[in-house]
Amino acid sequence: MSSWKRKDLTGLDELDADEITFLLDTARAFKGVGKRSLKKVPALRGKTLVNFFVEPSTRTRTSFEIAAMRLSADVVNISATASSLQKGETLKDTALNLQALQADIIVLRHSSPGSSRFLAERLESSIINAGDGAHEHPTQGLLDIFTIREKFGRIEGLNVSIVGDILFSRVARSNIFGLLKLGAKVTLVGPSTLVPKSFEKLGVRVIHRIDDVLAEADVVNLLRIQHERQRKEYFPGLGEYVALFGLTKARAAKLKPSCLIMHPGPINRGIEIDSDVADGAQSVILEQVTNGIAVRMAVLYSCAGGAGVPS
């Protein structure tokens, strides 16, 4: 029987296929909890979870909060503006203070790649990466893979196209690592400024025309264009992006009927995806949100339980 022995989840890159499958199977058991009349189990009763978000986020934080509450943990939210980081304290000192306050689990969102690993190696608390710069966002990767596996019953052999802003995307990285380990064929699609050829070293295919992947794709995962991170020179303008890479109604009509349309949210209607397509039958965007709770319950449960083993 497979088992989980880690106290932290900092990325999917460091997991092997069995560990990823373990989390997906555990999430499937937890998805059932959300369908009960009493949506709460006592597994993490008496544990304290701190949502420590140094970058703004509402949906990921809320998803972790609901997941923790369904496991009966006590939850405290700390945001960047309320944090002592603004008063000059280092990340490590802030985290040590959280540990001294006896936080069992710290969910960290931070702009620096590697910040979760940094804390995981220095603290006894479990560290869950909720996004570290452009590096990884493992629970988003897991919930995307969970949603795909739930629909197809497998990951191996599926053609998954990830479209858009790959360069800045931690979601893309976590998806790439996880999908490749489970045997999917991954294609990255976008302008060469946002999808450099160097990504091919990871074992994926890079294509600069979305029209080339529509007919073969089993999954199209559209990433958000991150206006807030981008300077203008990555592509000429949003109109041009829509013309070349947007999933318009005309393009969606060329997809296989079984092809899933995914988006990590928040969606920019009319940019990455046409409004009607986002609300259409092939879209699983809102199921991704629901599955996110089950996946995060599985991660919190596994890491809190795996913390009993000295690593």
Binding site: A29, V33, R45, A307
Partner: protein, 187 residues
């Protein structure tokens, strides 16, 4: 016959063979039938891993005896236990499968071995989040003693007094690829 190649024969003793297990489960099925009027509403909820197999066999026997198959389901209790952080590692969870509505239905929890009663307590907690059965009973293949809670089984395949150091190993041919058997493993 070797039951488990990893353990030498001198440390284990067979206490039930395939025939005695079959008889014990059949007798338990008769007892369940005797005490329940509405078998079409009855739910047998097996606790993973081997409680599920005992429940499946009870359902088969009840169907043979009365021609009515009770609902057979799975109840994973791992997430309802109170010792998560002391167990050291986390094992895979099974998906719980129960009827949509267990309110006012008679329900028999089924496990392979009854020991301290803590698993049963967790199962009772788990059931409470699904609904309110009209009655909850407990069926076990082996009762090995050492209760730590005021909980006791209603249907017992075999009473087997043991010492705390001993272990009970239940094997099913269809799950474990060795003949149906119950062994006492001595330290």
């Amino acid at each position: 016959m070797k039951a488990d190649p990893h353990i030498s024969e001198s440390t284990q003793q067979m206490v039930m063979d395939a025939e005695s297990m079959e008889k014990a489960i059949r007798r338990m099925a008769h007892e369940i039938v005797e005490r329940h009027d509405s078998l079409n509403k009855l739910v047998l909820a097996g606790i993973p891993t081997r409680g599920v197999e005992v429940a499946r066999r009870l359902a088969d026997h009840i169907e043979k005896i009365e021609g009515v198959r009770p609902y057979f389901g799975t109840l994973d209790i791992s997430m309802h236990r109170d010792d998560l952080s002391t167990r050291g590692r986390v094992t895979a969870l099974e998906v719980t499968r129960l009827p949509m509505d267990i309110d006012n239905r008679p329900l028999v929890l089924v496990d392979d071995v009854f020991f301290t009663g803590r698993t049963t307590r967790a199962a009772l907690d788990a059931l409470a989040s699904f609904g309110r059965p009209s009655i909850i009973q407990l069926a076990v293949l082996v009762d090995r003693g050492h209760r730590e809670l005021p909980i006791r089984p209603d249907y017992v395949g075999k009473n087997l007094p043991t010492s705390l150091e001993q272990k009970i190993r239940v094997r099913f041919e269809n799950l474990d690829s060795v003949p149906d058997s119950v062994f006492v493993i001595k330290p």
